[in-house]
């Protein structure tokens, strides 16, 4: 028995030593004549975006025979857990595709390389400062390049809008105007607005930026909850439309964004609020002859929305950080970013890429308004708060669901959001 125990300990120690003994050569440049291959794990989902991403890789490979990029198809499902393991095991892909909210934690733990010295000035200038803020570490280093953004937009049934005399012109749509239009469109058993708010927190916090809602003061674990009138403005307005005006179908508030689309196509709702990427489902799924449009961006005191861009980053332990960053810089070129943005129906982070989409689409299928809705996107305070995901899942989502189901009042909602932060951040 004793021998057996000693044997187990010896084997265990050897394995542990072997595991600890790994090392990486992060020296960067390849030797002259050496050919290197970079792994690019892309999470592209739509067929068109996969094709666009592969074309970018092919174009790069044709122009860089010594630095080849291998396209590896990943999936949004469980990407976080996959990256956690790969970072721990020092085997993350050379180029990582993920969203900014997800990689912030990895950056804080030192897993991501500083891309500041490698990205071109052209790329740095093309992205607005507010979007760069979402991919910068506390000490100002760029830990990823932001590629695509999603915004919340209002989709309208053109026939019903016209019938009710509602015109959606102008640069923006104020919340008051939205409420008035929804009221006007609520008639004959049909609702002015359907809003899939099954998971309401992201929508409320992102659109809360319209009213300068902060929700948090400070950063990291030191952040304090800040729940005042501005923070409660969006839920208050939605609640009023659902239960006072009765211009929002309250049952839609319990559904997901795509669940409300059949009702929209069937004329049950004259308008829906959803992520701008829903435009693709409109194109694919709307009945023949159904006319829809994207209304101008929602405006409170501003048109601001929170930016949580998709990103491309490089592991700090990567063997070829410079070459990986150069590929990312290539990916960020206007025509490339425009191709993936158009494929995914998402807003490119750079102005030249937005201009390219505007030119290619002529602003049709809601592109003009969609692109306009991305102009004021910026980093929100909650994106710098470490325990935000915990607060979102355990506190904010159930509290907002209760409020939107008319089971609690606004004061109770505020209290829960505020006190709940103390619980999860203690």
């Amino acid at each position: 028995m004793k021998k057996l125990l000693v044997g187990f300990l010896a084997v265990g120690s050897l394995v542990a030593l072997a595991a600890c003994g790994s090392g990486n050569d992060s020296s960067g440049d390849p030797a002259p004549g050496e050919k290197i291959t970079l792994k690019f794990q892309s999470l592209a989902f739509q067929k068109t975006t996969v094709a666009a991403s592969k074309k970018i890789v092919a174009d790069w490979n044709a122009a860089h025979p010594d630095v080849q990029v291998e396209y590896v198809q990943g999936s949004w499902d469980s990407v976080h857990d996959q990256l956690v393991t790969q970072f721990q095991g020092s085997s993350a892909p050379d180029i990582i595709h993920d969203e900014s909210a997800d990689i912030t934690g990895f950056a804080n733990q030192g897993y991501l390389a500083d891309l500041t010295p490698y990205l071109s000035q052209e790329t740095k200038d093309a992205v607005p400062a507010g979007v760069w803020d979402t991919v910068k570490s506390g000490d100002g280093k760029i830990i990823a390049a932001p590629t695509l953004l999603q915004s919340y937009v209002v989709f309208g049934n053109s026939a019903l809008l016209k019938q009710a005399g509602v015109s959606a012109t102008g640069d923006s749509l104020t919340w008051d105007q939205l409420q008035a239009d929804a009221k006007k469109l609520t008639t004959g058993g049909k609702f002015g607005l359907g809003w899939g708010l099954k998971s309401p927190t992201a929508t409320v916090l992102n659109l809360g930026m319209n009213f300068d809602a902060a929700f948090f003061e400070g950063t990291g674990r030191d952040a304090k909850a800040k729940i005042g009138d501005a923070e409660l403005e969006v839920p208050k307005r939605i609640h009023a439309m659902a239960y006072t005006d009765k211009s929002i179908d309250p049952t839609s508030l319990t559904q997901s964004g795509s669940d409300v689309l059949p009702g929209f196509f069937g004329g049950k709702y004259a308008m829906v609020v959803a992520g701008n990427y829903t435009a693709q489902q409109m194109v694919e799924q709307a009945p023949k002859g159904f006319q829809w449009e994207v209304l101008p961006p929602l405006k409170g005191t501003s048109e601001k929305q929170a930016a949580n861009p998709q990103t491309l980053s490089v592991p700090a332990e990567g063997k070829h950080i410079k070459q990986s960053a150069e590929f990312i810089d290539f990916f960020m070129k206007a025509e490339n970013l425009a191709a993936v943005g158009q494929g995914d129906w998402l807003i490119p982070t750079t102005q030249p890429a937005r201009d390219a989409i505007q030119k290619a689409t002529g602003g049709k299928n809601g592109w003009a308004q969609t692109l306009a809705s991305g102009t004021e996107m910026t980093k929100a305070p909650f994106q710098s708060v470490e325990n935000y995901p915990k607060w979102k899942d355990q506190i904010a989502t159930p509290a907002l669901q209760e409020f939107l189901a008319n089971k609690t009042d606004l004061a109770t909602l505020g209290q829960k959001l505020n006190d709940g932060w103390g619980q999860v951040n203690s």
Binding site: P93, Q150, G257
Partner: protein, 277 residues
């Protein structure tokens, strides 16, 4: 005792209802795989597709490496099943038949090993496999699946071995059969239903496993079926319902064939009357 006609009818109705209950998800899946994107967004959805289309199957098959991934899953699942049975059977026999103080400890450990969350062990496992150059390889995944399935397989087989009366082995021994001969000629045939049930469990566990494959396999050529199916789900809850349903239908075919092949051999009652009660 004769069964009354009314009772018999009630039995048939109950069986039919149960079959409908069990079969509904599969029928629904097949129906969904034949619907166009527009039908998915219909305010009044129909159970059967209004204008059936095979385009979802075309899309699903065009999706990068669906067939390749099915072959990978098949290789992994079959290898895992065979190896688990080969390793588990002697161990289960030993645990069921030998009287030792190690037995309760081993059984306790088998139970405890089932409660570890995957996420807890995946990082050390990944590091060890990487040192052994087994990450991003199908054998590496097979080893992990073996380790993952073995405790439950052992637990199952132990029960089946224990159900084989010792008297049969003693009788074989009295007739002059060696221990090995007894196991091969007497015990194994009687264990067949248990082996088949364990094989089914192991195969399905390996066929459906997602997380280990996600973490361990990076090469597109090595991706398993669940990883490819996950690609039909995008960010922000977007789902390509039609191609996903079509791919899922295709994914169930090997399992159904495997079950159809094995279930005919899943007979019980071999032991009835083997010894005096």
């Amino acid at each position: 005792m004769r069964t009354r006609p009314t009772t018999r009818v009630a039995q048939y109705v109950a069986v039919l209802a149960y079959l409908i209950f069990l079969g509904f998800p599969l029928v629904w899946l097949i129906s969904a795989s034949l619907k166009s994107p527009r039908e998915f967004a219909n305010l009044n959805p129909t159970f059967l597709p209004q204008s059936p289309t095979f385009s979802n199957f075309t899309d699903a098959l065009e999706e990068q490496g669906l067939v390749r991934s099915m072959l990978n899953s098949l290789q992994i699942s079959v290898a895992t099943t065979v190896l688990v049975l080969i390793v588990s059977l002697p161990v289960a026999y030993g645990l069921a038949r030998l009287r030792s103080r190690l037995r309760p400890i081993t059984n306790g450990w088998i139970l405890v090993s089932q409660v570890f969350p995957v996420i807890l062990i995946v990082i050390p496992l990944f590091v060890i496999l990487r040192q052994l150059h087994l990450t991003n390889t199908l054998p590496g995944v097979v080893i992990v699946y073996m380790v993952w399935s073995m405790p439950f397989a052992l637990w199952m087989l132990q029960g089946y071995v224990a159900a084989v009366p010792r008297e049969l082995e003693e009788a074989a021994s009295v007739d002059g059969a060696s221990r090995l001969r007894t196991i091969v000629s007497i015990v194994m045939p009687l264990l067949r239903p248990g082996l088949i049930a364990t094989a089914m469990f192991t195969f399905i566990s390996a066929w459906n496993e997602f997380f280990f494959a996600l973490v361990l396999l990076q090469d597109p050529e090595l991706k398993t079926l669940p990883l490819v199916l996950a690609r039909f789900v995008g960010a922000e809850g977007q789902v390509q319902f039609g191609p996903l349903a079509a791919a899922s239908v295709l994914a169930t075919v090997p399992s159904l064939v495997f079950f159809a092949f094995l279930q005919r051999r899943l007979t019980s009652g071999l032991l009835s009357g083997a010894v005096k009660g």
